[in-house]
Each structure stands twice: as structure tokens, then as C-alpha cells.
Symmetry: C2
Subunit: 276 residues, 2 copies
DNA sequence: CCTTGACTCTCCCATCGCCGGAGACTGGAT
DNA sequence: ATCCAGTCTCCGGCGATGGGAGAGTCAAGG
């Protein structure tokens, strides 16, 4: 029988860890002196410890390891767990790879421009209720008139709105005859009325930037965003949204200048596109 | 100004997280009501939050992010930090890849044999003092006689030994004229004497298995170990060690049968070999 | 046999980036 | 004035250890 220090040295596992495994029921010492509480391990338990370490290397949690080590696990069940873990590790490899390519793209930007004007980030957008009108308008700038229509249509229900939004439904850039939707995000449900449609924007993942300042430099934000999308191997996967944050409902205008968020729904290039 | 809930909804960041960032000094609300303690954020702070989220995505710690966001970081310093992080992420990718290949190899074994006889694990072996004799002996089995020589040479210093070890110095399998070293690991330094050498085994990474039972089935353990090394793309990087654990010093022989650990120093194939 | 010194015990606290809940208070709408 | 949703602070927990305090134990040497 080995005292914990000797067992620890043989196995190259810290004493603290051995005690923790004992407490967790993962590896109970072959004998515990009742009076002193000293733990005594048998050399035979080294094999058991190896089994634990091997599973830990596969990034199973100690809880999972405890299950896998219980007597009543068949080779078939073990295989199943290993395959599951394989899936998980593969997914994490992909995520890490994506993360790394985002980092690399960022390094390239900083080396080229020696500055980071725009921070592009990936965001999960939840389902979002919206009250809006959708029309083909003469040009981007003409979208402003639609908000009045929505406000009129909603009447007192305007109390429920939050952020004004524009949604560009065209699949490519158009100078004129722009298929635009304009309206407001809603806190709660609201009745549709008078040409104003109430519906849900679907949940999606989007690349997003914040643009501070006047609209006529919004192009630069779009440039940065689209470059990011291209260089990180994403594809546009839905209509682009613009959120006008400076007039968001609970905002007092103060002296803040315009703040706009641009959101472009994306999927990894190569992945199937679900939403239209 | 936005209350924390609105800011949270806009940014898709939880309220808890925002409070945590406030406390960590990462993102202090533009205004805090002195009386109520309510936090009020400016929409302009969305850009700042985006910056934080982008850096977090690169797996910087919040502490590092705080540094990177402080005013006095030049683009050059930022580049340096990003490159450092790039190295780190690349290393982790490699580690994950190795881990995954170990898992895959294990899955293959279980599918072929429907059992796992031997657990092979990677171990970091620290520098280890040893007292030993090295001789070319007639055959593997003849190594036993060397332990007597070591014991005689050490005399009373035998009190300091722990595990008996054999080290096979041949670079390939040999039936006869085996270049063998036999001796004992030492707890403390001890004087060399009478043909017994005291030296340090170098620190190394090794693939290891535990073999339970009689020596004549040790071949199976070697088989499993060598297969594991090959299929995980490692190379043998030093002399093989065998630890005879059943007679380790603090062990009372009891009725335990033999327990042997085989350790093969390895490096990833393709990596440079340092130790001889 | 007793002292010493190395070892071991339990218990508590810290890590990191949050999440959950309790209990008290606030703000804005009715 | 009332109500409810929102917000506040404080406390605890997560997972797998590591660090350290303070008390007890083991084995060898004097």
C-alpha cells in the first residue's frame, strides 16, 4: 500500500487532485485508516487512475468519467459516449478555427490601416416583433417618409415601440426603386392596422457594426462590414437591417450625435441557407 | 440614456454581464443615479461594448481587455497582443487536434477489439535521480542479477530508494546482448560507489501503460503501447523504462500480483528530437 | 523513548466569467 | 395611491483544481 504522496509521485498526479477524486467518488483509496484518516492506495489502482486520466484527456467532465467507470457500462455504450465526444471536439475545433481566422483577419486590418475604425462582431439576434410598412421607394433617403405612416397607423400603440429600423430587401445594391421596409421594434404585441403590418423578424446570426456620426459616412461602415464578411468566409443570408439608435424611445436626445447599427444576417459560406 | 435592460436588449448582452463589466471597470455606465444606483448607458457606449465583445471573442481575459482598452495603447502594442494571442490560439488548435486524434485512435481500438485492455496515456516525467548499473546482458530475463549488484554497491544507502527500474538502451528489439540499465529511483542524493552510478534521468514526455499480472504477457502491453504510438503519430525519443511497482519500497507485498508500468519517451513525429 | 522533521489530515478561500435567487427599493403608468 | 416591472446589492454556485492554515501522524535518529 502506498501513501498518497508516493502514489502521487508514481502517477504524476497532484495530491490535491487525488483527494478531490476520492471525494468525488472517482477513485477511492484501497484503504483509509480510520483513526488517522490517512489514505492508502494499492498499486493496482494505478491502472484505474490511468483510465481516469485517459478519459479526462478526452475532455469528459469528472461526472461523465464517473459514469463511464461504473461497472455497468458496456463497450457499446462506451463507444457511443466516445463518438459523442468526438462530435463535440470536432465542433470545437471548427469554432477555434473560425475564431482564429477572425483574429487573423483583424491582424491584417490593423497592419494595413494601423487603426481600427469599425469593430465588426457576430451577434445572435433573437426573434423580434416589428410594426412596419414595406414599399418600393425612389431612393434610400426616401425611407424617412415611411415612419410617419407607421406612426399614424399605430396611433396610441406607438407607446409600445422601441427602436426605429430600416430593412433593405434588395439582394443587391440599388440606387433607385429600393425595396424598403421601415418601422419600429415592439416591446409587446400590437394590432396591425391601416397598412401597417405587425410580424416577427426571424432569429438569425448577423455581423454587426456600430456607426457613430452622420449618415453620409455610413458607406465606410458598410465597406468595413462587407470586407469583414468576405474575408471571414461568410455569406449574406437575409435582408440587411439598420437600427437608428439615437432616437430609440428611452433616449433623451442630449447632445449625442447619430448612432446607427448595421446588421447583416450571415451564414458560413458553404453552409446551407435556411431563411429567405 | 438607456436603462440597463434596454442597453442589454440592444447589445444582446445579459444584464448580469453588464453589471460585471461595470464592476470590473471594463465598461462604466455613462451615468449612475446617485440616489437609486440605477445605471444609465449612452448609445455611444455600444461601440465600446462592441470592442469588448470582439476582444472577448479572441479569448482575451477581461483583465487583458481592460488593458487593451485603456487610452495609452498604441496600434503597435495592439498588434503585438493580437499576434501573441494568435500564437496561443494556434497552439490550442494543435493541442485540440492531437486530442481529437487520440480520441479517434481510441474509437478505432474499441471498434476493432470491443474492449480496452490497456490504457495508454501521455505523462510528463520529471527529472529523476537513479542509482544503477548498466551492462550488456545475455537476455532480457538476465537483468534481474543487476539489482543485487546495485543493492550491494549502495549498502545502507538502500534506505533511500523507491522503485526498481529497468531501462532498455537498445534502439531496436534484441533477443540477446541487451544493453540494459537496472537500478532504483532515489528519494535523495546518494554517493556513487562500487560500480554503481548515480545520475539523473532527464525530464521527458512518455507514453505509458500499466500492466497487471505476470511478465510473460508483458508483450501484449508493449504491443498496445507501440500501436498507440504509431497511430497517434509519435516517435520513440529515448530509452524505454520499466517500473516494477509491486515491490516498490513502501509496499507490503500482500497478495497483490505483479504490476508493471512501461514508459516510452516520445515526441510528435516531425518535431525535433532533443534527448539522445 | 522522545524528539524531530517530513508527511498528511480537514477546512477555508481563490480562481474565471458569469448565472440564479432573495429581499429591498425605484420608476413610470394607471 | 397603487401596482408591476425593472433595478439595486449581496450571497452562493459552477468545475477542477491550487494555496495555505493549523492540527495531527508516521518513521527514523539520538
Amino acid at each position: 500500500m502506498l501513501k498518497i504522496g508516493d502514489f502521487s509521485a508514481l502517477a504524476q498526479v497532484s495530491i490535491k487532485t487525488l483527494r478531490y477524486y476520492d471525494q468525488a467518488g472517482l477513485l477511492t483509496p484501497a484503504h483509509v485508516d480510520e483513526q488517522s484518516g490517512y489514505r492508502y492506495y494499492s498499486v493496482r489502482q494505478l491502472a484505474q487512475l490511468h483510465r481516469i486520466l485517459a478519459l479526462r484527456d478526452f475532455e469528459f467532465s469528472l461526472e461523465e468519467i464517473a459514469e463511464l467507470l461504473s461497472e455497468d457500462v458496456t463497450a457499446e455504450q462506451m463507444r457511443g459516449m466516445l463518438l459523442l465526444q468526438q462530435k463535440e471536439l470536432e465542433q470545437r475545433m471548427r469554432d477555434e478555427g473560425d475564431r482564429l481566422s477572425r483574429l487573423n483577419s483583424r491582424i491584417r486590418v490593423i497592419e494595413r490601416e494601423n487603426e481600427m475604425e469599425y469593430e465588426v462582431i457576430l451577434k445572435n439576434l433573437p426573434k423580434q416583433k416589428i410594426a412596419s410598412v414595406r414599399e418600393v421607394v425612389a431612393a434610400y433617403t426616401a425611407v424617412g417618409s415611411l415612419y410617419g405612416k407607421v406612426a399614424n397607423g399605430l396611433g396610441p400603440a406607438m407607446a409600445n415601440v422601441t427602436v426605429p429600423v430600416a430593412i433593405w430587401h434588395d439582394h443587391e445594391y440599388k440606387e433607385k426603386d429600393v425595396d424598403a421596409e421601415a418601422g419600429f421594434y415592439l416591446r409587446h404585441d400590437v394590432a396591425a392596422a391601416d397598412g401597417v403590418t405587425v410580424h416577427d423578424l426571424p432569429e438569425t446570426t448577423a455581423a454587426a457594426v456600430i456607426h457613430n456620426g452622420s449618415y453620409h459616412r455610413l458607406r465606410e461602415a458598410y465597406d468595413a462590414l462587407l470586407k469583414w464578411i468576405a474575408s471571414n468566409d461568410y455569406q449574406i443570408a437575409g435582408p440587411i437591417r439598420e437600427l437608428y439608435l439615437h432616437t430609440a424611445k428611452p433616449v433623451r436626445q442630449d447632445d449625442e450625435t447619430y448612432v446607427t447599427e448595421i446588421q447583416v444576417p450571415v451564414v458560413k459560406a458553404g453552409a446551407a441557407v435556411h431563411a429567405g
